[in-house]
């Protein structure tokens, strides 16, 4: 049971073989047993979880079950929830309780989900290893000396170790897909504008998007179906977005006629040779399933990380200016005057990576540098987007590695911010272009999970779900569980 998919749990609930309370208790017990080893959850309220489960069982006894009825879902500490704290794993929000729910939280509640708790993350989602969290690092269930990836590391570790069957993350430059890859689970970043950002603590507003992290492809579809849709309260949420048959797309069992692009810029020197071999083997499997592999080029790929590290910090420096210690957040002791209050509160409240990003952004936006940095990066962003548009004239979908390496050791990259930034080299361009992307497990390298990334044109999550479902059905990677957290099956 613990390693069951959401859809399997749903079937058992529907058949009356178990109850939402039993399911919730099972995962609460696993959290109690294993969270100390992983630090995946930063907030859990058992009584509140069980109360939601009881309410779900009662609802089911009186009505038709809703789409996520009684299913436990954990959420990253970046989502505002009226229940419990919302801290974005930052000291500056250590006492913050949100006065409202994020729109996606409202959607999950309306779909009958049981919200399990808040998961660990890099502070303000700025990081690729979950090591910048104010609550300490999270660990990878496959080897607790290694990082789970980031920034949604807690959500990834919690799903991989079956402390919850599913979780929500957010993805600004790879923060769903990279940790999904490093922990051997499935994670989807929907098309920008598909899912409301209202009530999600903002990092880089033109890039941020929420999405599911789950054991199977169908589970990502179930959750995305529930959380997506236009929100008049989010000006960047897209009205009349093309609809997708979320669950129907997951019925695919082959790839006949599918043209898969293999971008040469994503298979380069510097990537782990075993990672490369796993992904090449996965592409061979796609061929067996009927797909045609087409070599393509995305020529501006090598500028994606540079463009991202102008755009994301610039937007972050603007977004994080709201932490002024007036309306919410940490305030320093005995401020001498207003300026002292701002500057000292922010120095005390923000961690070093957040300061680095804010300062990078403040510099890029400062007088005399705007054209050379921010404007230039936004133009390069257009070229990166055009690369994809051109590629999708000849292929239906693109397949790449999600990460050039498997999970690295804790502390290995913390001294060198630039090396850490390059962890997201394969995921960042997707955010810049606003496209949907999914990572699913495709093997092991050095005994650690490897992820295969699928990228589709805007609004074509259905193409991704179909290809990933066919691959999943033909392989058994999603059934692998980390031995240390295996428990009974």
């Amino acid at each position: 049971m613990p390693f069951s998919s959401l859809s399997e749990i749903r079937s058992r609930l529907d058949a009356g073989e178990t109850t939402a309370v039993e399911v919730a208790q099972l995962y609460l017990d696993r959290i109690a047993a294993h969270n100390d080893a992983l630090n995946a959850f930063v907030h859990i309220d058992n009584a509140h979880v069980l109360a939601q489960a009881e309410a779900s069982d009662k609802y089911r006894s009186e009505h038709d079950a809703r789409p996520l009825e009684g299913l436990p879902i954990a959420v990253k500490d970046i989502f505002c929830t009226q229940d419990g704290p919302t801290r974005c794993c930052s000291k500056i929000l250590k006492d913050f309780h949100a006065p409202y729910d994020a729109q996606v939280i409202t959607h999950l509640k309306e779909a009958g989900a049981v919200l399990v708790g808040k998961t660990n993350m890099d502070e303000f989602a700025m990081g690729s290893s979950n090591e910048t969290s104010a609550f300490g690092p999270c660990r990878n269930p496959w080897d607790t000396d290694t990082i789970p990836g980031g920034s949604s590391g807690g959500s990834a570790a919690a799903v991989a170790a079956a402390l919850t069957p599913a979780a929500l993350g957010t993805d600004t430059g790879g923060s769903i897909r990279q940790p999904a890859s490093l922990t051997g689970i499935t994670g989807l970043k929907p098309t920008y504008g598909r899912v409301s950002r209202r009530g999600i603590i903002a990092f880089a507003s033109s890039l941020d998007q929420a999405g599911p992290m789950t054991r199977t492809v169908k589970d990502t579809a179930m959750i995305t179906a529930a959380i997506s849709g236009h929100d008049s309260g989010d000006a960047t949420s897209v009205d009349n977005a093309p609809a997708v048959d979320w669950l129907g797309a997951c019925d695919a069992t082959d790839m006949k006629g599918l043209k898969i692009g293999r971008p040469k810029e994503y298979f380069i020197e510097g990537m782990d040779s075993e990672v490369r071999a796993s992904v090449e083997t996965a592409l061979e499997k796609c061929k067996e399933l009927g797909a045609e592999i087409v070599d393509i080029s995305l020529p501006h790929t090598k500028y994606a990380v540079a463009a991202y590290y102008v755009i994301a910090p610039s937007e972050a420096s603007a977004n994080l200016s709201r932490y002024d210690s007036v309306r919410f957040g940490h305030r320093c002791d005995n401020p001498e005057d207003l300026l002292d209050m701002y500057t000292r509160s922010r120095d005390e409240g923000f961690g070093s990576e957040v300061k680095r990003r804010i300062l990078t952004g403040a510099f890029a936006l400062s007088s005399g540098y705007y054209d050379a940095y921010y404007l230039k990066a936004q133009q390069v962003r257009t070229l990166i987007q055009q690369d994809f548009i051109r590629a999708f004239e000849t292929v239906d979908i693109i397949a790449t590695p999600t990460s050039p390496v498997t999970a690295f050791k804790l502390g290995e990259k913390t001294d060198d911010p630039l090396t850490m930034y390059l962890s997201d080299i394969y995921t960042i361009a997707v955010n810049l272009a606003g496209l949907p992307g999914l990572s699913q497990p495709c093997g092991f390298a050095n005994d650690m999970p490897v992820g295969l990334q699928w990228i589709a044109p805007a609004w074509r999550e259905d193409s991704i779900l179909s290809a990933a479902s066919a691959y999943e059905a033909a392989t058994d990677w999603t059934t692998r569980v980390p031995a240390q957290f295996g428990g009974e099956s």
Binding site: D95, F96, H97, A98, P99, G193, S206, S232, A235, T236, V238, D239, H300, Y303, A306, A307, Y309, V310, S317, S321, V326, R327, H330, R331, P335, E336, D337, L338, L339, D340, M341, Y342, T343, R344, R346, D347, S352, K355, R356, I358, L359, A362, F363, S366, Y373, L375, K376, A377, Q378, Q379, V380, R381, T382, L383, P417, L418, Y421, L432, G434, A458
Partner: protein
């Protein structure tokens, strides 16, 4: 590139300790050095992307939708008094 890290920090309203400034200065120079690669790209006549799907900013009717929630919205504030945010004295 050498940058005056304390000046940038003041723009961002962050007071760095001397140790932080000494560490962040070279790191920022390294990051900006990497970003310099963008200057190789010919972007003449290329439009800048702000919203990935070029969506127009929507307008909504100017009506109150959430009522008066002052107490709840002020609850997270460090210091309030009579419904006002309290900050150090601004004018002598």
């Amino acid at each position: 590139m050498d940058i005056d890290v304390n000046k940038v920090a003041m723009l961002a309203r962050i007071r760095l300790t001397d140790d932080e400034a000494a560490e962040l200065g070279p790191q920022l120079s390294g990051i900006l050095g990497y970003i310099e690669a963008l200057s190789e790209v010919n972007t003449e006549g290329v439009a800048a992307t702000a919203h990935p799907h070029d969506a127009a900013m929507p307008l909504r009717a100017n009506v109150v939708t959430n009522g008066n929630r002052r107490d709840e919205l002020q609850a997270p504030a460090p210091k309030i008094e009579s419904g006002l945010y309290v900050v150090p004295k601004v004018i002598e």
